[in-house]
């Protein structure tokens, strides 16, 4: 078995296109998913039963139905009711919605990880709600939030490959396309796996730097501030 680099050289422009689209999809779906997740979390914590129950049902539905089935529902079932999306739009939308349910739970977990006494103490000191959130709660939850959110984001980056099934021409789809033209599965899929590996590694490295900067207070010592 020898590795044929000529195939990779020949199809490199196509692969680069797929890579750009994968990055584009993630660059849209990750922020969108986080914002939606925050909204779902707020609804989940709402005083109004309708809102909180809807959010709860939404979270359980999204987390317990496979992503591929969710895509199929949007792509095959919704058009029957006159709702049609381009594959790319449907894909980015599905990925964001899928992520939002998990992000909502991650935010909830992060906020619960800060002891209740902290916000009570801040309140008794007369700090405003916004200041309490920004200066007391957020710095303490960030050490929990960033690692879990990073894990979820990496899951989403990997899950974006599933969009290949609805003909979104991202990296995995391009891989299949090239296999269809020139049968070189070992070379192509090794390369594509490697590209994903580099993307996820770079992403988690970036997030680790962010976490390091956000939790600086814990290292310089909270008491000295």
């Amino acid at each position: 078995m020898n590795f044929d680099f000529a195939i990779i050289a020949r199809y490199w422009p196509k692969i680069a296109e797929g890579l750009v689209l994968t990055v584009f999809i993630c660059a849209l779906a990750l922020p969108l998913g986080s914002i939606l997740g925050l909204l779902v979390y707020l609804a989940r914590m709402s005083r109004y039963r309708i809102l909180s129950n809807t959010a709860l049902v939404f979270i359980e539905l999204v987390r317990n139905i496979p992503f591929l089935i969710q895509i199929f529902i949007v792509f095959y079932v919704l058009p029957f009711y006159g709702i049609r999306f381009e594959p790319l739009t449907a894909g980015i939308g599905c990925l964001s919605v899928y992520g939002s349910a998990y992000f909502a739970e991650i935010i909830r977990g992060a906020i619960q990880s800060v002891p209740k006494g902290q916000s009570e103490a801040a309140k008794s000191l007369g700090l405003l709600y916004w200041v309490t959130l920004r200066r007391i709660i957020f710095p303490q939850m960030v050490g929990y939030l960033i690692p879990s959110a990073t894990n979820m984001a990496i899951t989403l980056i990997k899950e974006s490959s599933v969009l290949a099934v609805i003909t979104v021409a991202e990296l995995t789809y391009i891989g299949q396309f090239i296999i269809g033209k020139a049968f070189a599965p070992v070379e192509i899929f090794s390369l594509i796996a490697l590209i994903y590996w580099i993307i996820t590694a770079l992403f988690s490295l970036g997030m680790r730097v962010l976490e390091y900067r956000c939790t600086r207070f814990a290292r310089i010592g909270l008491t000295t501030i």
Binding site: E60, F72, Y102, I154, V162, I179, S190
Partner: protein
């Protein structure tokens, strides 16, 4: 376009057949995955770089690449490399267990790190052989501890199994697609498939939560499962 109950009732027996394959694939994948995970976890414990480095690279590679790409690799590339023909079902189960193994190994490693060092020292002081210490003292305790995260991992496998439809394994999702193509009524079939998946996964995740809760009550810190 309405919702036709007749179509739904016709589809259900076929979908249940598909669900049986989904169940088989997930169970076999999970059992083999535990085997792979155990080997990887023990390799990582080794102090020899030649043994622990391959395990570290494998785990990182599996966790950093999409399952779909891994499935394609096993189905399209592996037969050429190994020189054997892999039927879709076998390739699918292999891909699932190779993937799951990387995650299980991290769970097992977490479990092993929870065993107090004193256990190992006490067993050594009693003159037990290394193999006996692992098989009779450490691993049985580890396995009891990691039951909740393993249940969670099994739920993940069930949720990942629809991807096998892409390499023509006729499990629940593929079955639903086949029915959809025959009848051209995606609404009933897809909703039914989604409901089936939801029931299975919801029961499993409720079970996981129960087990985690019980473990937390029993003895201090359990191992939290991700996702």
């Amino acid at each position: 376009m309405g919702f036709d109950l007749g179509h739904l009732l016709n589809a259900i027996p076929l979908l249940l057949k598909g669900a049986l394959i989904t169940f088989q694939v997930s169970v076999i994948g999970a059992l083999l995955g535990i085997g792979v995970g155990l080997v990887l976890a023990l390799m990582r414990l080794s102090s020899l770089t030649a043994i622990n480095l391959p395990a570290i690279v494998y785990i990182s590679l599996i966790r950093g690449t999409p399952l779909l790409v891994q499935i394609f690799f096993v189905y399209y590339a592996l037969p050429g490399l190994l020189g054997v023909d892999l039927p879709a079902f076998v390739a699918g189960v292999m891909a699932l267990s190779l993937n799951s193994g990387a995650f299980v190994s991290e769970i097992i490693r977490g479990g092993i790190s929870m065993i107090p060092r004193g256990q190992l020292e006490a067993a050594r002081a009693l003159g037990l052989k290394t193999a006996i210490i692992w098989c009779r003292v450490i691993l049985p305790q580890v396995f009891v501890m990691i039951i909740p995260p393993l249940t969670n991992e099994f739920t993940m496998l069930v949720k990942a199994s629809p991807l096998l439809s892409v390499i023509t394994v006729v499990e629940l999702t593929r079955k639903a697609q086949q029915i959809m193509i025959l009848t051209y009524r995606p609404v009933e079939v897809m909703i039914a498939a989604a409901t089936l998946y939801f029931v299975i996964c919801f029961l499993l995740s409720t079970l996981t939560r129960r087990l985690e809760h019980r473990a937390a009550l029993k003895g201090g810190e359990g191992i939290r499962s991700g996702g």
